[in-house]
Amino acid sequence: MLNISSWNLRSWVNMIVLVLLALVPVLVSWSGNEFYLDIATRLVILAMAAVTLNLILGYGGMISFGHAGFLGIGAYAVGIPVYHEIYDGFLHFPIAIIGSATFALITGMICLRTKGVHFIMITMAFSQMVFYGFVSIEDYGGDDGLVIEARSEFGGLFDMENNTTLYYFCFICLLATIYIVRRVVNSRFGMVIQGAKGNERRLQSLGFNTYRYQLACYVLAGAICGFAGALLGNFTSFISPEMMDWSRSGELIFMVVLGGTATLFGPLLGTTAFLLLEEYLPHVIDLVYKGGGVYWQLYFGIILILVVLYMKGGINGFLSRREGSK
C-alpha cells in the first residue's frame, strides 16, 4: 500500500482526499472561516454512513433503501438521554450501537427472507415506520424534532464541545470504519458475502447458510451506521424525524453509487462529490442565470440520472478507465 511507485491514479486521488480532510481544521484556522469545518464534519459523518451502506449494498448486493433509519436511531440515542439530562457519552454510543443493531436484526430477519425488489421496498417501509414512529412521539418533539442541548461527555478524556476535537474524533471513526470494512471484505466472511451477491445458490450448495451471513453483515452495517448517527446527533445539536426520511436513504445510495460501489474509498469520494455539488451547485447556477439557484435540485436530479445512465462505476470507475486509456 505504501509503495508509492506502484500507486495508480485512484490511490493518488484517495490519498489526496484523505490528506485534505486531515488538514481541514488547519486550513480553517488559516482562513478563519468556521463554515468549512461544518461541511467537513458533515462530510466525514455521512461518508461513514455511506461506507457501511456500501458494505451491504456494494459488496453484499443487498440494496437497502432504509439506511438513513439507522442514522436517525443513532441520533435519537443521543437526543433522548440528553433530554433526560443524561450526558454520558459512554452511555449514548453503546445505546446507539445496540439500538440500531437490534433494529437491524429484527427487520433484517424479515427483509432478508425476500430478494431483489421486495428487499428494496421492505427496507424502505421499515425505515419509514421508524420515521412515523418518531413523528408521533410528542414527548420527544414529534414532527418538530428535538434540540440536543449538550454534546456527549467522555469523562474529561476529550471535549466534544470543541468543534475541532469533534471533527478529529469523527475523522478517526471514519478511518476506523474503512479499516473494519476492508478487514471484513477480505476475510472468509466477506468472501461469502461477495459470493452470495454473485451466485447465492452456488454458495448454498457449497454448504454456506447465506441467510445467516447476510444477516450478520446487515447487523454490522446497521450498528456502525447507528454509531455514525450518534456522531451526527452530536454535531447537528438538533434531531428530527426528517433525518431518516426515505429521501435521505436515497441520497446515501447516490453517494455510494456516485463514488463507485464495492470499492473501499468509493463512498468517501461519492460523499465528497455529493456535498460539494449540494453546496456549490446553487451558486454556479446563479452565476449562469440569476435566481436559478433556488431550483438547483432540478439540475441535481438531472445529474443523478445522467450518472446512472452514463457513468458506470461512478468516480472510481471513471478514474480506473483513465488509467486504462493511458
Binding site: 433503501f65 427487520t107 425476500t114 421496498m121 436515497g250 441535481f300 438531472i302 443523478l304 440520472i305
Partner: protein
Amino acid sequence: MDTTLLAAQLINGLQLGILLFLLASGLSLIFGIMDFVNLAHGSLYMVGAFFCATITDWTDSFIIGALLAIPATAVIGFLVEIIVVRKLYQRDHLDHVLATFGLILVFDTTTQMIWGPDGLVVPLPAWLDTRVTLFSDIVLPTYRIAIIGVGLAVAAGLWLLVSKTRLGMRIRAGASNRDMIGALGVDINLLFTLVFALGAVLAGLAGMMIAPITEASVGMGNGIIIVAFVVIVIGGIGSIKGAFAAAMIVGLIDTMGRSYLDSLFKLFMSNQNAETSAPAISAMLIYILMAAILAFRPQGLFPPKGR
C-alpha cells in the same frame, strides 16, 4: 359506538384503499411486465393533481379538468418513458431506484418552478360537495362515495382490459415471458410505453381525485408512494388482484387504527399510556402488518403464478 362516525371512517378507509389501488396497480403492472421499479410513480400522482387543478381553474369545471388532465398525464408518462425509463430496462434494480429518485427531484422542482411553492385548491362543483343520508341517520360526504365508485369502475375496467382484450392478452404474455412475445412479432417497445402510460394515468387519476380534498401540493406523492409499495409487497408484486385486496386491507386498517386504536388500548391499559402509545402504534400499524404477513408469506398474499 357512534354509527355515523364509524360509517364515515369506513368510507374514508375504503376511499384511501381505492387511491392506493390506483397507485399500486400501475406500479405492479409496470413491475410485472417491464421488471421496472418506479419510485417516481408518486410524481405522476402529483402531476395529475396539478394538471387537474390548473384546467379546473381555466374552465371552472372540475369534471372537465379531470377529463382533460387524464390525457395530459398520459403524455407526461409517454415522454418520461421515452426519454429516461426506456434506457433503464436492461439495467439492474439499483439503477432503477436511483434514476427514478432523480426523476422525483426533477418533477418536484419543476412543479415548484411552474406552480410555486404553495398548494393549489381545487373547488368541487356544488352537486358533488354535498352529503347523502343513508338509513335515515348516517350522513356521508357525496364526493368520497363518488371516489369509491369511480375507483371500483376503474378496477373493473382494468380487469376487463387485462383479461378480455388483445392488448390485455399481450400484457399478460409480456408478464410471463417478454422475450417470447418479442420474438412472436409484438412491438415490445410500444407495448412497454403503453403500459407505462397506463400506469401514469392510473396514478394521475388518483392524484386528481384526492386534490379537492387535500389540495395539489409539491411532493404530495412522496409519502403515499411508500404506502403503495407496502400494498404491492403485501399483495404480491405483479398481481393486480393482490394489489386490490391489499389496498383495501391497508386503507381500512390504517384509517381504523388511527380512529379507534386508543379506545382499544384503553380496555387493557391506563388512559394515559393508551393516549401516548396509540398514535405511535397506529402510525406504524400497516408496517407491522406488512412484517407479520411477510414473516409467513414472503411472496405476499397473491403472488403471480409462473414467475
